[in-house]
Symmetry: C2
């Protein structure tokens, strides 16, 4: 089976994530959604609302990965600097999108409020728009960089529109099985399997719940035949250790 | 007021975070705890279980920030490679810690299991140990890099022991206030305040809950007198817009 690997980086922009005030949930959502489209998240960074830092992170990421997805910093306030960062990263000026401006004007507001909201119509020159099914201002795409909102519901809506724009590769499938065994009780068998199936990513995740220690083994890879073989072998190891393979 | 800024980077090691299978909660916990000790998280990276990638991330982070905290990859299985990564980053060999080995030997196990568990006694030469109040194998410290477990309860226990080892700077305090106003309804006033108080980080976070749109304004900084002034001004803006300043 020939595997085509398409990669992505996620750049999470926002002081509130780095201060611990806000728990990010966007990364996990983006990773799961992209995987369905055959795109694998290979790195994520959380960066503060500081122009040079965001520019450096985006420029490194867009050179190293097929796609980059950013979240956060596209609202109407002074701390929303993502548009300026992306324009700086691509060395283009910021322009006003008449399409976004029209969406903003649909909701009446006093002049001062309208002026603030118009900040959200600013995009880097050459950007195309990312639709926003929640009805608010759009995100945008520059080359291989997709710029989305930080609010999870809005980000999720924007991301849901992007499937057609991504050229995905092989989709990663997964199998998993759980045992009431400590990690070290199955560690040696796993290493041997991993060596024989280098294209399958075999992960071992210990847990403690309901007063029981256990380990979940997760196999991930594009080749479903190989996945089934690895799953059978892992189940065999669990049984050989006198335990019962369970659904996670 | 002279402000002393001490910074940290968090490196989250683990394929399971990048695949979306596991929701990271360690970053927010570390950020909140470090802030109490006067250390500010300025960047976080999520990297896969790939040696060269982890080594590069750790080496960049330890050069750029006062402290680095890693989570994940210190268990007994083949995918636990953090020890090897840190040793490679510092260009030192991996050795066996007799202190950790003694902790591991306290829990009897069959020879093969004991051998796997002994993987957790490996540390980079020159590392000092990070205590593990949960009773399991320890983490370790190399220079300004602290290596902790990935399981949240274990990581939190390890982190709780580190306060004495960190030389913190000014502690960041915060104030916050909420209004049932859209972000754009207060955006212009905020920008002016931010300009006059450059040492206070004034963040604006829109939300939608219980059928109400609102915005929470968060002020963060070391200077509590300035914080109180900014809070009063922000409350003034909210009232001037005809809304009620509320506790978030």
């Amino acid at each position: 089976m020939r595997e085509r690997v398409v990669t992505a980086s996620v750049v999470i922009i926002g002081n509130e994530i780095l201060s611990g005030r806000t728990q990010d949930t966007n990364l996990a959502h983006i990773a799961l959604q992209l995987n369905e489209w055959g795109v694998r998240v290979r790195e994520a960074r959380v960066v503060p609302d500081v122009l040079e830092t965001v520019v450096a992170a985006v420029n490194e990421a867009r050179a190293a990965f097929d796609y980059v997805f950013t979240t956060g910093g596209i609202g109407p306030t002074h701390d929303d600097i993502t548009v300026d960062c992306i324009a700086a990263a691509f060395d283009v000026p910021v322009v006003v999108s008449e399409e976004i401006a029209a969406v903003i004007r649909r909701r009446p507001a006093p002049p001062q409020v309208m002026e603030s909201r118009m900040r959200m119509a600013r995009i880097p020159r050459g950007a195309s728009l990312v639709r926003n099914p929640t009805g608010g201002p759009q995100g945008f795409r520059m080359d291989n960089v997709f710029v989305m909102a930080g609010i999870p519901a809005v980000m999720q809506a924007m991301l849901s529109t992007l499937g057609d724009q991504l050229e995905g590769g092989s989709v990663v499938h997964s199998r998993s099985v759980t045992a009431h065994l400590g990690e070290s009780e199955i560690a040696d068998g796993l290493e041997d399997i991993q060596r024989r199936y280098p294209h399958i990513d075999l992960g071992s995740y210990p847990f403690y719940r309901d007063n029981v220690y256990g380990t979940t083994l997760v196999m991930r890879g594009a080749d479903e035949t190989a996945l089934e073989r690895v799953l059978a072998e892992v189940r065999g190891i669990i049984e050989a250790r006198g335990a019962v393979p369970r659904d996670p």
